[in-house]
């Protein structure tokens, strides 16, 4: 009887020097962060951080590295860090992106990567803005099911065709990347903004909802859908790939066909 145990079937012969975390390529980047610290300086300013990052890292990892290893005063929002909670929308190289979904290797690392807070909302600190005006517009479109019929004992059924009408707009995570990329919103902050319209669209075209007319009336306002200039910034910015401009156009059509 041999005392030697057979090798496990899962064992793979690796060449020496292959495997392990050290194998992920690293590169040096400069992260140029727009800082705003109202408790010490009145104006916002740019600050450069030189970092060595891995090829698998995202912009959020670079921000973490700054906060944890370089400058603990850097402030930004993040929660799930996996592109679902919508906390870390920011302007990366001038475009609204989620920091947790932007891989550093996809950006031009030969130049400084700029990171700043989303535009159009009141800046509070560093990358944190006051989201209250954004959520106020969201609340105004009544983003909840309103049904006047009898409450069913089970689920409210819906055909696949009926669901397909608003499927795209159910994906919104309220990160504000669209609204804060809209030049009309930048002007005076009065426009309802793409996100509020997207979330109204989600209920206006839901066959189970009875308050579509009320929402269309709200968005027929002078600050409603008619302020959309179809610049497509919102569609380009949406981290969930929602066809925002298309949804706004559908709401315009619905208001038009309701009136005429």
């Amino acid at each position: 009887m041999s005392t030697e145990l057979p090798e496990p079937a899962s064992k793979i012969e690796l060449k020496p020097g292959v495997g392990g975390g050290g194998e992920i390529p690293t590169f040096d980047i400069t992260l140029r962060v727009r800082r705003y610290t109202p408790e010490s300086t009145a104006d916002a300013y740019w600050e450069d951080f030189k970092l060595t990052m891995y090829g698998t890292d995202r912009v959020l990892d670079a921000l973490h590295k700054i906060k944890w290893e370089h400058d603990g005063s850097l402030s930004f929002r993040r929660s799930c860090a996996h592109g679902v909670c919508g906390s870390d929308a920011m302007r990366i190289n001038g475009r609204n992106r989620l920091a947790c979904k932007s891989l550093l290797k996809d950006l031009d690392t030969s130049k400084p990567i700029t990171v700043e807070a989303i535009k159009g909302l009141p800046l509070e600190k560093d990358l944190i803005v006051d989201m209250e005006p954004f959520f106020q517009s969201y609340r105004e479109v009544m983003p909840f099911l309103i049904n006047e019929g009898h409450e069913p004992s089970g689920e409210r059924y819906q055909s696949a065709e009926d669901h397909a009408k608003f499927e795209d707009t159910t994906k919104c995570i309220l990160c504000a990347a669209c609204t804060s990329s809209c030049p009309v919103f930048w002007t005076d902050g009065q426009y309802f903004g793409p996100a509020a319209i997207v979330n109204a669209h989600r209920f206006i075209f839901d066959s189970r909802d009875d308050a579509g007319d009320m929402r269309l009336e709200i968005l027929n306002d002078k600050e409603g859908v008619w302020r959309c200039r179809t610049t497509f910034n919102c569609s380009e910015a949406c981290p969930r790939g929602i066809q925002v401009t298309k949804a706004i156009a559908e709401v315009k059509q619905a208001i038009l066909s309701r009136t005429i």
Binding site: E39, E132, N220, W226, R227, R229, T259
Partner: protein
């Protein structure tokens, strides 16, 4: 140097973002619709105008006081040019109105710019319409044969 920092979660909304009273009218919708419809009609009117003036006959060399007088002798061209004037002016004015709304940040700036815009629009529409309706080709010492 230090700024006043408001307490968080106080349900405050920056007054800049508080929306004015709700507009009851559908003016913005009608303006949006007008832009699209007038745009389509203007394409026909403008190309008809360009073809009639520049491509037929001897083209640009034929354009003169007499040429315009000849065109306006026909009620079709009178109507064509009147429609062109009104639609182009209203289409353009509405376009500039939305640009002012989008770019002016202060309410007073917006009101002033739009005031100037509306006055000049009315002036040009009235003047243009008067010219088309009261046009008399027989000026003093007119070389035109019909005078």
């Amino acid at each position: 140097m230090s700024a006043e920092i408001a307490a968080p979660r106080s349900q405050r909304i920056d007054p800049k973002y508080v929306r004015g009273p709700k507009s009851r009218s559908s003016f913005e919708m009608l303006a949006w619709l007008f832009m699209r419809l007038s745009g389509v009609v203007l394409v026909v009117l403008i190309f008809g105008h360009l073809i009639a003036n520049l491509l037929t006959g001897t083209g640009i060399n034929a354009l003169s006081f007499g040429f315009v007088a000849g065109k306006w002798a026909s009620p079709i061209w009178q109507f064509w040019d009147l429609a062109l004037l009104w639609l182009a002016m209203l289409h353009g004015t509405n376009g500039v109105r939305t640009i002012i709304n989008d770019y002016a940040e202060k309410h007073a700036t917006r009101a002033w710019l739009k005031g100037v815009l509306y006055v000049s629009t009315i002036f040009i529409i009235v003047l243009g319409s008067l010219v088309i309706f009261t046009f008399d080709p027989c000026v003093v010492n007119s070389p035109l044969p019909q005078c």
